[in-house]
Symmetry: C2
Subunit: 333 residues, 2 copies
């Protein structure tokens, strides 16, 4: 693709150093990168785009934007049970974007490349008259034929989630000024969860051969569990069903504090997006293995309900009655 002559210098200065650790990047000087999964493994490929004004405001630290961009993709790899391998990066930036912004953005990528053992393989850098538009395409490897899928859940399987649910959605409410009364430390924790996902790469890899289905919670617990139901199918022709208990959904201390101030926030917790935890299903006979895995990883893995033969998603509220969710998922983007 023809590029501004400045593109070559920009790539050489800020991005070629990020590609040094990945030989298949060919130093970012060739027409394509060479990426081959190790023998006996499939390549899992996922991609996400973030637009300024939609997925981020633009006044965040550039390194944080870079980290979120990479991590939402890593979370998808985690949901497939894939180990990170390499990624490509496409940046469309306004002409006035300065070197300071680029340096901080590249530094954010460099830190996460080390943290998640992934290398830059290639990309494209173009100018835009509009908002910043960023795309990462991440590639990971997973044992051939054993990738975690959304569609394998069976009636009676236990539904688990990792970590805590709802923090990202509450963090966004705080940023929007729609939630008040929390201690500053708790508010900061929730905002941090919204701004910086923690992709569950290590957990995903350990769920291969154990979970019957898995998905990362990006659209919200209810919506993403809904995707599992649609893909898994029930005993008959229709989609599978599930019953979960709101009281069982794991919450952070900060989310508990928010909920204590407004019990109505439970709906936001169950339907808000940006958790980037894993939801997965496991045959009842393997519950002990999940408990051992939680200990091994020092990570909460909490059973919140069961797969049923149909009937959609049924949520038992904290009061024991059925909870009707007004909306199923997140709507930005």
């Amino acid at each position: 693709m023809p590029g501004h002559l400045g593109e070559f210098e920009r790539i050489a200065r800020f991005f070629a150093p990020l590609a040094q650790g990945f030989p298949g990047a060919l130093g970012l000087t060739d027409d394509a990168a060479l990426i081959t999964p190790p023998p006996g493994r499939d390549l899992a490929v996922t991609t996400d785009t973030m637009v300024q004004g939609v997925h981020f405001m633009g006044d965040e630290p550039p390194g944080l934007i870079a980290a979120k961009l990479l991590r939402v993709n890593l979370s998808d790899l985690a949901a497939m049970g894939a180990a990170p391998l390499a990624y490509t990066l496409n940046i469309a930036l306004p002409a006035e974007t300065g070197d300071d912004w680029l340096r901080a953005f590249a530094d954010g990528l460099a830190a996460d490349q080390r943290a998640f053992d992934i290398g830059l393989a290639g990309g494209d850098s173009v100018s835009t008259p509009g908002p910043v538009c960023l795309t990462v395409t991440a590639m990971g490897s997973v044992e051939t034929g054993r990738a975690l899928r959304r569609g394998g859940a069976q009636t009676g399987d236990i539904i688990y989630v990792s970590g805590s649910i709802g923090d990202g959605a509450l963090g966004l409410r705080l940023l929007r000024g729609e939630l008040a009364g929390l201690a500053q430390e708790q508010a900061d924790e929730l905002i941090g969860r919204y701004r910086l996902p923690r992709p569950r790469i290590g957990l995903g890899a350990r769920l291969v051969g154990l979970a019957s289905a898995a998905i990362d919670i990006s659209d919200g617990l209810a919506a993403d569990l809904g995707h599992v139901l649609e893909c898994s199918g029930g005993g008959g022709a229709g989609p599978a069903g599930a019953e979960i208990e709101a009281a069982a959904v794991p919450l952070s201390d900060a989310a508990r504090a928010a909920l204590a101030g407004d019990a109505g926030l439970m709906e936001a917790i169950l339907t808000g997006g940006d958790d980037y935890e894993l939801l997965f299903t496991v045959a009842p006979g393997h519950a002990g293995r999940v408990a051992a895995l939680a200990t091994d990883l020092a990570m909460p893995l909490t059973p919140i309900g069961r797969m049923t033969a149909g009937g959609g998603l049924r949520v038992v509220g904290v009061d024991g009655g059925e909870m009707v969710l007004r909306r199923k998922g997140w709507t930005h983007g």
Copy 2:
């Protein structure tokens, strides 16, 4: 990544049909696609972004925008000698984008998927307050360790180009009203070359094991040959050199007609972008194999000069004197 609820319907209606032919797409319903190169082959990965107002105006037929987006990536695969396998697609569209636009865009992709034997593996669909921003990441396969590279040219190798050079650059001048006096049919031909690249996939595959270096001409003949020089290295420590003859550069009848009206256009022909032909180098002893390949593919493969031990790029003008290019390459993007 959280998405507008409309995203799911949009993907189901317009893009899931494009993924039906590629099993690893998993119906676009999972967190990642599964893509594995055939045994004994590497995966070549390339990506390009196109922004409305920079790489296209936006009033072109949507199918043409889709085809160009896919083909600039396919041209990069061709330059590596890779056979197309699958691609991912990221679209950031303004909220007012209608279904008619999306249908025509998807139809353009569908036609080129058939023409180039490539399947849709995954992607992301988001909204943007700004101009349309489109990314394709294309994956192809090439025999392990035998991908064509920019860096293998040796002193004395013959420099070839496929097809005809300069048509795209002249087509852009026509669109900008900077070139007149051509017959309508010839003008249409040049504009068509600018709007719709013809990636040389078949040629690239046949150059594996024959060419010592290859690149697709997207930044302009002079600039892209310059990339080969930088990557190949000369006899000493510096970059390789090359001498080409302007009179040998293959031109279409339409470009010849334009040049007859203004001999000064030769510089635009040598430095303009958007040819999407292949430039490649071959050891002198293999010239006969290239001639046979040209016959076999019914495609002009024209020797335009030789690699030298250094001294940069020297261009012999049509008058026999040295031609000094005021600029080396294209500057949009």
